[in-house]
């Protein structure tokens, strides 16, 4: 099961990567692989953009538009604030509204 082709924004800087492999350990979708002691994006369409890799990279080698791919939250944000990034669903634990996770 894979999502839309070629939309994920994850990118790894070859220069900054030290090959520690932490990103591979935290990725839940096996997106990243190692070659010649450097990591690279091996399966972009599987990427959830959860940001675990970037968050745990001590060398800031990984960039992307990370966040939660939740239509409930984004529709909320778009309709209420005109910005999909500002929306929430009930996963932030503040509302009792219906939602996803």
């Amino acid at each position: 099961m894979k999502y839309l082709h070629d939309v994920a924004t994850i990118a790894i800087s070859h220069d900054k990567c030290t090959g520690c492999g932490m990103c591979i350990d935290v990725c839940p979708r096996n997106v990243i692989a190692m070659k010649d002691k450097k990591t690279f994006v091996n399966d972009k369409d599987a990427c959830l953009e959860c940001g675990a890799c970037a968050k745990n990279c001590a060398f800031d080698a990984i960039t992307g538009d990370f966040g939660v791919g939740c239509a409930t939250a984004m529709i909320n944000g778009l309709l209420r604030f005109g910005n999909p990034d500002k929306g929430t669903c009930d996963c932030d634990g503040t509302s009792g509204a219906t939602g996803c996770c």
Binding site: M1, G69, A73, I75, P84, C91, T98
Partner: protein
């Protein structure tokens, strides 16, 4: 309520002089735990309140060398962890995630570096254990920067397996996760268990609009006629039920077999298919052409909307993709809502023989 001096003293003595309290827990589930695990898959209200107190828990009789496991204060997360630790003596550090599970809370940052660092300090973890290792579930990684926690507290994070049932194997394997343990799955049962909450949520939202529509359908010169209401509303109820079953049940069940990758389109195509089936089954043969058109638009658009909203529950969709779908899907849904309203009006007029 104003606290009397005596009350404040009591408060102090219960919370501040004796250091943080360690709660005891066990790995086995009782009937209430099993009941709660089912109920929070059905009632969102119950689920949002299904919590344990944050803090440090002892499982069995942990020594200073015992392992430390971190989790969220959603009770189901905590329960699965303690069940997975069956037979072990361990410490469980519960973060305050406002009752949200590990992965969702990590995505929102409440299961995060700051909360973990704060909790390690407030629970005086360094005094409880003689080592400097904590095991954090891998799905907590989007919220936690292991290198920062190490810098701030001295504790080294080992990311444990995604599923608590793999914990025993992980420990036997010297705290190393296998590639299978760190890959998220979305099996039939994992998809099925999500459906009841989705159905309940949309049914709740649909009740009031449906009642309003039913009243309008029953309108006659003599007043609101029940028989007329029933005849005209039944096709709408059937279409609504079909849309909900397609979007909330059929879609998640069929997910691995759908060729199209866009969730909105998956729901749209499934909805269209169901509309055609209902049409040719003769279900709506007594309904005017406007009513029939309404069933097509309602089932397809609502099923698409529900399937699209499922993105947040899946380990498949990503932010950029949902954003891309959003640009087409939202105008489509608004258009469909307007079309359904118009067709409902035309349906009512035509059934009255005025068209």
């Amino acid at each position: 309520m104003q606290l009397t001096p005596a009350d404040t003293d009591k408060e102090k003595s219960s919370c501040c002089c004796c250091g943080p309290k360690i709660r005891k827990t066990i790995s086995s589930w009782n009937a209430g735990d099993y009941f709660g695990a089912i109920l929070c898959r059905i009632s969102n209200r119950y689920r949002m309140r299904y919590r344990v107190d944050p803090g440090l828990y002892s499982l069995g009789s942990p020594t200073a060398e015992a392992k430390v496991f971190v989790t969220a204060n959603y009770k189901l997360s905590f329960d699965h962890l303690r069940k997975g630790l069956n037979g072990l003596d361990a410490w469980i550090l519960v973060l305050d995630t406002k009752g949200i599970n590990v992965w969702c809370a990590a995505g929102k940052g409440t299961f995060g570096t700051d909360e973990l660092v704060r909790r390690i300090g407030s629970e005086k973890l360094a005094e409880k254990v003689s080592h400097k290792n904590i095991i954090v579930p891998q799905l907590g990684a989007p919220g936690i920067a292991a290198h920062e926690v190490k810098k701030k507290t001295g504790f080294k994070i080992v990311y444990g397996p995604i599923r608590s049932k793999d914990i025993q194997a992980f420990i036997v394997n010297n705290n190393v996760v296998t590639p299978a343990m760190r890959s998220v799955t979305f099996t039939l049962s994992e998809r099925t268990v999500l459906a009841p909450l989705e159905v309940v949520a949309i049914v709740k939202k649909a009740i009031v609009p449906l009642l309003v529509v039913a009243l309008v359908m029953g309108l006659q010169k003599q007043g609101i006629m029940f028989h007329q209401m029933e005849t005209l509303t039944m096709p709408i109820i059937i279409a609504l039920a079909a849309a909900i079953i397609t979007g909330c049940v059929l879609h998640p069940l069929l997910l691995p077999f759908l060729i199209v990758r866009s969730f909105a389109l998956q729901g749209l195509f499934l909805g269209l298919l169901v509309s055609v089936c209902l049409h040719f089954s003769g279900m709506f043969s007594n309904v005017s052409v406007f009513g029939q058109a309404m069933t097509y638009v309602l089932i397809s658009a609502l099923s698409s909307y529900l399937a699209f909203n499922f993105t947040g529950s899946t380990p498949i969709a990503n932010k950029s993709g949902v954003k891309k779908e959003l640009k087409i899907a939202v105008p489509l849904y608004i258009g469909a809502a307007v079309a359904v309203l118009l067709l409902l009006v035309l349906y009512k007029i035509s059934q009255e023989g005025l068209l």
